[in-house]
């Protein structure tokens, strides 16, 4: 990310880029410098560069293709139960649609996505945790990939919870396949899925401290000596990100 980046990317990373009340773009974290060198060793002159990490913005209607049909059906059903705010935002990016769902409404939305004839997402491909340590108040994300075999469609649900209150409703009663997936997300990220029948570790040993795939958990490793040189462990090597 060099100096030809449009200047709306160079704002302070903590600033939300908003238009009216509609959240459009939100910077999550930032990268500094260019060559992975920190401190006085940086003689490149690029050490002062700051580039915010901006994820794809909310998409406005029309989303295109069958995305609108799904969104319409979803909104119609949510409107009927006055839960219009259950969908926080919708992102269409690279031909995939993501519904950001308010966490307290996740179970209701998932139940509806599964049961409604127009939606009928009968297959859940599990949950994938993602840890965004700099996304204040929404550090932990749970991402669900749903598949409708009836309509041959795929959507993604994204739910967030803060580190301080890592609770997300369990979907095991709706999609039993999520049993192990939610245990894995608990094991690796420390997300507690409320209502899960047995929220225990699954891949790590039962007495393991910490949740290994969180960004604040070190990778570990030891330096390796090779032909007189020493190769540091991967997380201490120069990083160009």
């Amino acid at each position: 990310m060099s100096d030809d980046t449009p200047d709306h990317n160079l704002q302070d990373p903590s600033t939300d880029l908003v238009a009216g009340d509609q959240e459009i773009n939100r910077a999550v974290g930032s990268r500094h410098g260019m060559f992975g060198v920190k401190g006085s060793g940086d003689t490149s002159g690029y050490g002062g560069l700051v580039s915010p990490t901006v994820y794809p913005a909310s998409t406005q209607r029309p989303y295109g293709g069958w995305f609108d049909e799904v969104a319409d059906a979803l909104e119609a059903r949510l409107g009927a139960t006055d839960l219009d705010a259950a969908i926080e935002r919708v992102v269409v990016h690279r031909g995939e649609i993501t519904f950001h769902v308010r966490r307290e409404d996740l179970a209701f939305v998932a139940q509806m996505l599964r049961d409604d004839d127009d939606l009928r997402f009968e297959f859940c491909a599990g949950v994938s945790g993602v840890h965004y340590p700099e996304d204040a108040g929404r550090e932990l994300h749970a991402v669900y990939h749903l598949l409708s075999m009836t309509h041959n469609r795929r959507i993604r649900l994204e739910v967030t919870c803060p580190d301080a209150d890592p609770h997300i409703p369990s979907l095991v009663s709706i999609y039993p396949t999520n049993d192990w997936h939610e245990r894995e997300a608990w094991d690796m990220f420390g997300i507690q899925f409320d209502g899960h029948p047995s929220m225990t570790r699954i891949l790590m040993p039962d007495d393991w401290p910490g949740h290994p795939q969180r960004k604040d958990y070190p990778l570990g490793g030891i330096p390796v000596e090779y032909k007189g040189g020493t190769v540091p462990p991967p997380d201490q090597r120069r990083s160009y990100s």
Binding site: E96, H145, R156, W180, H181, P212, L219, S241
Partner: protein, 449 residues
């Protein structure tokens, strides 16, 4: 053998022995007298099978609660092969990621690489730029891989029920596929060959001839499997009605691949959501309608024949694509050199070295930047699932705009399908647990990642 003797038998009343002649002691009210004793003598046994057990298909631990030989509860303990591949990928460049994910499900390495590469390509927005030859080579390798993976499934499944010949012939044919992999990629396993943007290398000379020889041989050998197993009474007795799971159960538990297709539902991502140009190939989705271990065996067997058809079509297309590029044209993404195996057995490219060391400083800088730093992938997330031999395999790839994956999560079908262990084996015999698990075909490297 029913007893025609009408004479009253003191110990076995004929009305109670309609199943045949039974040598036992029944009658009077001894049942009720002994009942209390039977209850107090605890028949319940909790047995640990594995993690090191030849029949548990890898380092899988089964915790079985038995009553006699009947399984009343079955639970899986997994994690013995967890290697932190997903975490490790966050500390490597996007291209290096392929060398990690290829090691997850070690029986279908090309599928791991392909779903990851497809996800990265979607984020890079170069899906349409991947050259045709790379697409065809991906399909060729994936279908060869499907054959080798199904062969191992059938072979180890056979071994676990004592059908040793199925095992020996299965591994015999798999060896031929691995020889092809070695010829094309240089490695028998863990290839890291399918990379974001295309594939690592062009086909070596003579590869198409070897593939055609293999197809011709397999056309003869595959019917041998059918002749050996399909109607074999022992094989059928062990597999039929074992590990039953119908369509509703498969959907609830998220099962995909052969277990789903064995319920009669022809869901195959190669047909329903084609990727890598699968829509251009002529093949049938294989289904069976018994929803049991035997059906899954037949689905796999038939799928191998279909894969062979696809391999043949891919080989024909490759014959017309000689010299075509196998990597995207974008030099900011494509690996700068095409390596060849030298006489020392190491990959090298003398032309490329001459170019960067002797001719062009810019080429050297470009090479250095691309190899050490890697390319940047725009921020976002992608999920491009593919039909692996075991079902829906997908990589949830998240980028923060940097040169490393921010997060790569693999939805491995073995992991999900293994959840069906309980429903498939509870209420059955201990020996059938093995058959049920073998019919799921879990690969623990993929389950634990």
């Amino acid at each position: 053998m029913t007893t025609t003797d009408n004479q009253q038998d003191l110990y076995a009343d004929p009305s109670e022995t309609s199943q045949g002649k039974v040598f036992t002691v029944t009658g009077q009210d001894w049942d009720s007298i002994a009942q209390g004793l039977g209850d107090s003598a605890d028949e319940r046994v909790v047995v640990n099978m594995g993690p090191q057990h030849p029949s548990t298909h890898g380092v899988l631990r089964l915790i079985l609660e038995l009553e006699g030989e009947t399984v009343t509860e079955a639970r899986c303990g997994i994690g013995y092969l967890h290697t932190g591949i997903e975490k490790n990928m966050e500390f490597r460049s996007w291209v290096q990621g392929t060398t990690f994910c290829t090691r997850m499900d070690y029986l279908s390495p090309f599928f791991n690489e392909a779903t990851y590469a497809l996800g990265v390509e979607r984020l890079l927005d170069i899906e349409d730029d991947v050259p045709e030859k790379a697409q065809v080579m991906r399909v060729l390798l994936m279908e060869l891989n499907r054959i080798s993976s199904h062969l191992v499934c059938i072979a180890t499944g056979g071994m676990e029920i004592g059908a040793l010949t199925v095992m020996t012939i299965g591994f015999r044919e798999r060896e031929l596929v691995l020889d092809l992999f070695e010829l094309i990629t240089g490695l028998r396993m863990n290839h890291a060959f399918i990379r974001p943007g295309g594939v690592a290398q062009d086909l070596p000379p003579g590869a198409l001839d070897e593939i055609r020889d293999f197809i011709a041989l397999m056309r003869k050998r595959l019917p041998e499997y059918a002749a050996l197993c399909n109607a074999n009474p022992i094989f059928k007795a062990r597999l039929e009605d074992v590990g039953h799971l119908d369509l509703a159960g498969c959907l609830a538990l998220g099962l995909s691949g052969p277990p789903l297709r064995a319920t009669g539902y022809g869901w195959d991502l190669r047909k329903t959501q084609p990727y890598s140009g699968y829509e251009d190939y002529d093949f049938e989705v294989q289904t069976w309608d018994t929803a049991d271990a035997y059906g899954r065996f037949r689905v796999r067997l038939n799928e191998m024949s279909e894969s062979l058809r696809i391999v043949e079509q891919a080989a024909d297309r490759l014959a017309g694509l000689e010299g075509a590029p196998v990597m995207v044209g974008d030099k900011k993404i494509a690996w700068p050199s095409q390596l060849a195996i030298g006489s020392d057995g190491m990959g090298n490219s003398l032309d490329h070295i001459r170019h960067i060391m002797g001719e062009s400083m810019e080429a050297l800088i470009h090479h250095f930047k691309l190899v050490t730093e890697g390319f940047r992938v725009p921020a976002g997330q992608a999920y491009v699932p593919i039909e692996s031999p075991r079902g829906e395999l997908g990589a949830h790839v998240v980028s923060d705009g940097g040169t490393r994956p921010f997060r790569a999560h693999f939805r491995d079908p073995s992991f999900t399908n293994l959840q069906a262990t309980s429903v498939m084996s509870e209420g059955g015999m201990v020996a059938d647990v093995i058959v049920a698990i073998a019919s799921i075909d879990p690969v623990m490297g993929g389950v634990d990642r």
